[in-house]
Symmetry: C2
Subunit: 329 residues, 2 copies
């Protein structure tokens, strides 16, 4: 295993320490690293909290800040955080508007966030994301997996919360955005979890995993490496088949790297995907290209399409100031 | 070779097409991809142009926009752009204030930018960056290589140009910033140039290349993989030995990924490097952590320290709006 680490036991704490130091104007560590919180809270705003296993950075801690999350609870790599982390985060950032948990659909995360919600003294609601169209059930999830579309939910809710939306309205908006967001991924290589010390899976020199999960879970099928256009075609066909949009619809297109993918390839995949949208008469009204929801150093990418109707373009564009995404602020 | 591409011949053009489409509010392609230019020029401002081989994205095209570059000339992967690209870019973005070329110290780039400067009809000056302390001469360079510190030069000059600095002042500032900026890198794996189809070099399962260049050029020595703290110590000792700073000095610390490095590891390396600065009584006044000057999918990172004296913190913080770096705008 080749990693820039000191010991597998200290990867998370040392990485979090670096993250908090590098972005001290935006975030602070709470309870010795149980959670990452927004440094300056907005009184009375509904608090948004997410979390999950580490190894997907910048998700979620990189999205803590004005216009997105109020706190993120990092578990060990690919391992759910614990209910006490979520409770501690809620206590720290709930300024009277209640707390909305945004949870990717994995059994451990869903169970632990549900326990935290039950134990909470304040008002709590939950939105579960399940945007991955690749498979209907998977290694760690009953039902579809929550993947890169989660960042779109977090961003839209963050903007709405900043404008004063209450807990019920945010939960409804979260369900709506998740319901019109679809993703699919492909892996060219595996990743290696530090504590495991060896690759999660193996692929032949000419193979790829079509529909891979962000923990290296199996996808739809293992196939021969194909051209970027053919890969994009398969992913976009699955995504658009599920969304069933009318021509003229406006969408956000996210080309997301898994951690080991050069920017050149991501922009090339974005180009392929966008041409497919063009060909179907869909308007790419907003775009995001980069490694935002990763699987450690996995090579590969996901494509996400999210429908931008109603107030959503305005929410997407609203001022945002986090470590990983920043505009208008 | 596992890459998300259609053909090795089209990697650059398709990637540029995606980049320009994704960031159409900031950039436009000039002359069918000869250069990437800022969409809205500021009349009379000295124009800043950089460029070099592709494969280092987001450098340089990702830094085109308000507060940084006016144009970037992309060569094929790890291959210098040609003088006609630079001339075309200069003609397109020189609005009367002359043109400053910012050039990484590689023989091909230096020669081609010099030819372009000679052929120019307008006023042209050049700043060469050579921040890599690893080796004094290398495969493609006479003298030190220009690496991640280049983005700091580009950003400081971009901010100064925006404030009205003229060509001479910008050239002097560029030399000053480059002269107080030092970097060093380490590779855990090689990268694969698409047209070559195989890794540029090979490392054993327990080896790393200490002092690697951003094209995979050899560094100081090939050694056993070490702990992050030990790696940071060697790099920072080389960097700080060369800078020779007084205790209390304020610096910018950049932990830069080479393309295949997870964010967790980058923040961990940042943490190690920052503790070393702390230990020497140096103040980390600004920070940047991410994969900004890459070598395709190489795993590894570089550390850069740049002295922030005088007006430099203010220039660093000034409004910036590019595809890869954005704040205050």
């Amino acid at each position: 295993m080749k990693k820039l680490i000191n010991s597998t036991a200290d990867v998370l704490s040392e990485s979090l320490a670096g993250f908090a130091a590098a972005h001290a104007e935006i975030v602070a560590l709470g309870d010795e690293g149980k959670f990452v919180r927004r440094r300056n809270l907005k009184r009375g705003k509904t608090a948004l909290i997410s979390g999950g296993g580490s190894g997907h950075e910048p998700l979620h801690a990189g999205f803590v800040g004005r216009g997105m999350l109020d706190a993120a609870c990092p578990g060990q790599v690919f391992t759910s955080p614990t209910p006490d982390q979520m409770l501690a985060a809620a206590e720290a950032v709930d300024t009277g508007g209640g707390v909305l948990y945004i949870v990717k659909n994995y059994e451990g995360d869903v169970m632990n966030f549900a326990m935290a919600a039950e134990m909470a003294s304040g008002k709590v609601a939950t939105v579960i994301t399940d945007d991955d169209v690749a498979v209907e059930t998977s290694t760690y999830s009953t039902g579809r997996r929550g993947v890169a579309g989660t960042l779109i939910v977090e961003r839209m809710l963050g903007a709405a919360a900043e404008k004063g939306a209450d807990l019920d309205a945010l939960q409804a908006l979260g369900k709506r955005v998740n319901g019109q967001t679809r993703s699919m991924g492909v892996a060219l290589t595996s990743c290696t979890v530090p504590a495991a010390g060896k690759p999660t899976f193996t692929l032949g020199e000419d193979e790829m995993e079509m529909g891979v999960g962000i923990h290296g879970e199996p996808g739809r099928r293992r196939v021969k490496l194909a051209a970027a256009d053919a890969i994009a075609e398969e992913m976009m066909t699955a995504i658009l088949g599920d969304l069933n949009l009318k021509a003229g619809s406006e969408v956000l297109l996210l080309a997301n790297g898994f951690g080991g993918t050069p920017a050149m390839e991501l922009y090339l995949m974005y180009n392929s995907a966008r041409r497919i949208l063009d060909g179907r008469g869909l308007k790419t009204a907003r775009s995001l290209v980069g490694s935002y929801v990763t699987s450690l150093e996995m090579a590969g990418c996901s494509l996400t399409v999210s429908v931008l109707d109603g107030e959503l373009p305005e929410l997407w564009d609203a001022p945002l100031h986090t470590a990983a995404l920043r505009w208008g602020a």
